[in-house]
């Protein structure tokens, strides 16, 4: 196993996307990305660790600001090609505590410490001779180097750049920091490994680690979506009202509360999935979930000691039977068990007729019971599919987004079709079976197993959607 940890300094002109590349590769949206040149003032390390094991380090650096002047200083001291790396080191030592070449010292110091070079240029703008001084300095370091042509804007001068960069750098790649797919990022890491034989093994392990982490995120995302589906199918809002209150007075507020619960639940799932992919407080631009037009309210039920009417009657009957039985026992059965029979009937009947009165009785200032108004759960058969489509679409957008993108997350389009269009009949039937089972399990005795089975189905739906529209990873 190699004991050398690969280190790469991301260097180049200011404002050419160095920080965007670092942000994308490190999945860190705390990296400041700004159109103002010189935003990065200090080098900053992004170590990639699996547990405690350090596999590689990316270093974001400030851009060259006085490349020609720095090169001029170095050229004055050059004796031969072999002296160049040492001269670069001397340059850093000479100027690191001064203001004159602050940026150059920041970006060259990691190179003189053995880091590889990842040189970034903007391939959407034309090549210019002003880049040659800094490329020459980088060549003088003697470090393994790769150039990345970052396509920031709409122009395409990649070929022009490639011709120039190929004369200075071992490997030249085109890479779009804002939109590059996950697989391409892994390819880039593998390419780093080609720069130095000793780096190949840790970078391969890094790639494997990132791949399995990606799978873990997908599995977790499926689970979060399945939990959302389960909750949405079972969410209800209840409100206890007095026996003399008119339920119509409370329906509107209860409906708003119910809708709020649904939206909050969906938003919570979104937040969890975004957090899973290392996004924090992303601004989202999407259409709100709309409820279908259905009657969500259920009839009032009696609430007495937490029992509904059926349970109350049963409890009353059992209680009456117990009292009747004790009478039978006391008289030695002389009443031919009539006590038990009558007790059951009386107990049950009294539970029916007296529960109104009992509900009004207060114990310690609190009424014994009353009515309960309930909104939900939704029984619309399409609703879970709408939700599933939205959730899968959101997941696909997040999974393919890069951390260099700083605009609001836009989720648009016919997200319901996203699911229904791509779902096979077999899968849809499996979902329907699960949804039906969840709706029927009103005491949630099978919640955990249902969620697990749903998660499997969601994973299959993710795979089907990706294979139908092209990979998003």
């Amino acid at each position: 196993m190699s004991d050398v940890t690969p280190r790469f300094a991301v260097v180049g002109h200011p404002n050419k996307g160095k920080s965007s590349i670092v942000s994308t590769l490190s999945e860190d949206d705390s990296v400041q990305i700004s159109s103002i040149p010189g935003t990065t003032v200090k080098s900053r390390e992004f170590p990639m660790r699996v547990g405690d094991e350090l596999l590689y380090v990316l270093i974001d650096t400030p851009g060259f600001q006085r490349a020609r002047r720095a090169l001029a200083w170095m050229q004055e001291r050059e004796t031969d090609a072999a002296s160049r790396p040492g001269i670069v080191k001397d340059f850093v030592l000479n100027f690191q505590d001064t203001d004159e070449f602050q940026d150059e010292c920041e970006l060259l110091a990691p190179l003189t410490d053995g880091a590889g070079i990842l040189y970034v240029v903007d391939g959407s703008a034309p090549y210019g001779p002003e880049y040659e001084a800094e490329m020459e300095i980088l060549r003088w370091t003697g470090r393994p180097s790769m150039a990345l042509i970052n396509m920031i804007g709409e122009g395409d001068f990649a070929d022009q750049w490639s011709d120039a960069l190929g004369q200075y750098f071992r490997i030249v790649r085109v890479f779009n920091a804002l939109h590059e797919h996950f697989d391409k990022r892994l390819d880039l890491l593998r390419a780093f490994g080609q720069l130095d034989e000793r780096w190949r093994e840790p970078l391969e392990r890094a790639v494997r680690g990132l791949n399995s982490d990606r799978q873990r995120r997908r599995d977790r995302g499926a689970r979060y979506i399945s939990e959302l589906l389960y909750d949405i199918l079972t969410i209800a809002e209840t409100r206890k009202i007095g026996p003399l209150d008119d339920p119509e007075d409370f329906k509107e507020a209860l409906l708003e509360k119910f809708k709020g619960s649904l939206l909050k639940r969906e938003a919570s799932c979104r937040d969890r999935i975004e957090s899973l992919y290392s996004y924090h407080k992303l601004e989202r631009d999407e259409e709100n979930l709309e409820l279908f037009d259905e009657d969500l309210f259920s009839e009032q039920t009696w609430v007495l000691w937490g029992l509904n009417r059926t349970q109350l009657i049963a409890t009353g009957a059992v209680g009456g039977a117990a009292i009747g039985a004790s009478i039978d026992i006391a008289v030695g059965g002389a009443d031919f068990m009539l006590g038990t029979v009558l007790g059951t009937l009386v107990g049950g009947a009294s539970a029916v007729y007296s529960s109104d009165k009992l509900a009004e009785v207060k114990v310690l200032g609190l009424p014994l019971g009353g009515n309960e108004l309930k909104a939900g759960p939704t029984k619309n058969i399409n609703f879970p599919y709408v939700l599933l489509g939205r959730a899968l679409h959101h997941h696909a957008v997040i999974a393919s987004r890069t951390h260099a993108q700083r605009d609001a997350l836009v989720i648009e389009g016919d997200t319901e079709s996203f699911t229904l269009r791509n779902m096979t009949d077999t899968l849809r039937k499996s979902f329907e079976k699960q949804f039906t089972a969840i709706r029927r399990d009103t005491e949630d005795t099978g919640a955990e197993s249902a969620t697990r089975e749903l998660a499997d189905l969601v994973r299959r739906a993710m795979a089907e959607a990706e294979s139908a529209v092209g990979s998003t990873d």
């Binding site: 200011p14 159109s35 040149p37 660790r49 990132l210 006391a330 919640a447």
Partner: protein, 503 residues
């Protein structure tokens, strides 16, 4: 552990204000202080120093020693358990008083005693077992409905009503928890179900203890006479066989507690024949008491012991459900990942150093048209000479006096030569054309400072960012132009002017 479940949600919600990096650093640091090997988020809910223990330790660390909402809920639950235990004890004792009542006429009917303290207990035990069947078994048709009804009818539900008797803070905390549980049944459904079932076992066990204590006290402090009576056509042999079967568990360790055939034969009584009852009482006074070891052991073996087991089972199931709820609570996975050693981290460890805010000075206004300008094409913009003439005329109203090229691949000495050439022409503005899409580097600002020093104050220097397309002038992006303007404003040169070629 219930306290942990209650406190977990609010604590995780507080993290919304922290960045992912801050959370990661905080929790990784805490995890390093924990004893034992790191565990992954895929750990089981076994009772080892695993995921649940790590969450519990994290909560203790976060919450400190102050009483929490979770503590109040746990305390409330314990108080209700005690109340149910007392109620069970009382009801059991009262039932024993009623069933073992002997007024000297008819003996205590062993059949009734067995029916209530053994038969009924076994029936309710079976009902509990049905209600407690695992979730996978609840898939049997109709079983889920029966389970729901049984949990609904469970005496443990009285515990929910007893919250009214709790002190205000415990009552509010417990009611809030019940409210949260109702809203999030997927997570909490199992927990509330097993709280109710556990309470029911507390009541049932204490009922049995109360009954045994009541029965024992009557046996010890009064003289009871036992017999058996039934309308059914059962001979003594059949009854003897039945009681012998019931006595199997103690037939070897306590054979004296197994009713003999003689005892069965001699203790049957009929209420219709008071003479016979009296004869039994007179002839078999000592015999009539010999049923009590059998009765007591029946109450213990078939009433008390199973309830001890179901109490332990329900406590364990409750604990397991609480652990599952904690394990699958939204946010727990992420917390465990942060504390785990197996997480992949790629983010920066240190925060970014902020760029110091520069001081901006207003740039001067471009002079009126007609001047002859010295032009510097910085970094070989790519404009043809004709385009440069056109740019001067259209954008500034100037004509070209001389044209020099500086920057780019040229040396510093060549830049200095350009400055010397510009200065040689003592009058007229200096126009520096730059590529709008490139950023203004310190190297360019150095050049402007050197030019200013050489040209003297008051000589107008105009920086013109422009786009270039096929050698001709193209409009610069507004964002690029503003970057240039902002950079130049930091120089504090009142005779420095700026004019971008924009759309």
């Amino acid at each position: 552990m219930l306290a942990d479940l209650v406190d977990l949600g609010p604590e995780l919600e507080k993290d919304d204000a922290l960045s992912l990096g801050d959370r990661q650093r905080r929790d990784a640091l805490f995890a390093d202080s924990l004893p034992g090997s790191p565990d992954t988020a895929q750990g089981t809910t076994q009772d080892t120093y695993g995921p649940i223990d790590r969450v519990s330790a994290w909560l203790s660390h976060r919450l400190g020693d102050d009483e929490t909402e979770g503590d109040r809920v746990a305390r409330g639950r314990r108080v209700i358990s005690v109340l149910l235990a007392l109620a069970g004890l009382l009801v059991g004792w009262a039932a024993a008083m009623a069933l073992f009542r002997y007024d000297g006429t008819h003996p205590v009917n062993v059949m009734w005693v067995l029916a209530v303290f053994v038969g009924l207990q076994l029936i309710t035990l079976i009902l509990f077992l049905i209600a407690a069947l695992p979730k996978t078994a609840s898939r049997l048709p109709g079983l889920a409905g029966i389970q729901q009804a049984l949990v609904g009818l469970s005496p443990g539900r009285i515990g929910l009503a007893l919250t009214r008797l709790l002190p205000a803070n415990s009552r509010h905390a417990l009611n809030a928890f019940i409210g949260r549980s109702t809203k999030n049944r997927r997570l909490f459904g199992g927990v509330t179900r097993w709280i109710v079932l556990h309470w029911s076992q507390v009541f049932a066990l204490m009922f049995q203890i109360g009954a045994i204590v009541g029965a024992l006290s009557l046996v010890v402090f009064s003289d009871l006479a036992f017999g058996w009576s039934t309308t059914l056509d059962l001979g003594a042999n059949a009854v003897h066989r039945a009681v012998s079967a019931l006595s199997l568990p103690w037939s070897i360790p306590a054979p004296q507690a197994v009713p003999s055939l003689e005892l069965v034969e001699t203790t049957r009584f009929f209420r219709l024949d008071p003479k016979r009852a009296g004869d039994i009482a007179t002839a078999n006074a000592a015999n009539l008491t010999r049923w009590w070891p059998f009765i007591l052991l029946s109450m213990i073996v078939y009433g008390l012991l199973p309830r001890l087991i179901t109490l332990v089972v329900s406590a364990r199931r409750l604990r397991a459900n609480i652990k599952d709820a904690i394990r699958y609570y939204p946010g727990t996975d992420e917390l465990l990942d942060r504390m785990s050693g197996n997480i992949i981290k790629t983010q920066a460890v240190e925060p970014e150093v902020q760029m110091p805010k520069p001081t901006y000075h207003e740039l001067g206004k471009v002079e009126t048209a007609g001047a002859r300008a010295s032009v510097v094409d910085w970094s070989e913009s790519g404009l043809t000479e004709g385009s440069i003439d056109k740019l001067l005329a259209d954008t500034l109203g100037f004509s070209k006096g001389q044209l020099n090229v500086a920057g780019g691949a040229r040396s510093l000495a060549q830049d200095q030569a350009v400055i010397d050439a510009v200065v040689a022409l003592k009058d007229g503005p200096v126009v520096v054309i730059v590529k709008a899409w490139e950023t203004p580097m310190l190297e360019f600002l150095d050049f402007l400072r050197d030019l200013r020093r050489a040209a003297g104050e008051r000589r107008s220097i105009v920086v013109v960012p422009t786009g270039v397309e096929d050698g001709a002038v193209a409009p610069a992006r507004a964002s690029d132009a503003s970057v240039w303007a902002e950079r130049l404003e930091t120089l504090g040169d009142p005779w420095l002017k700026f004019k971008a070629v924009t759309a």
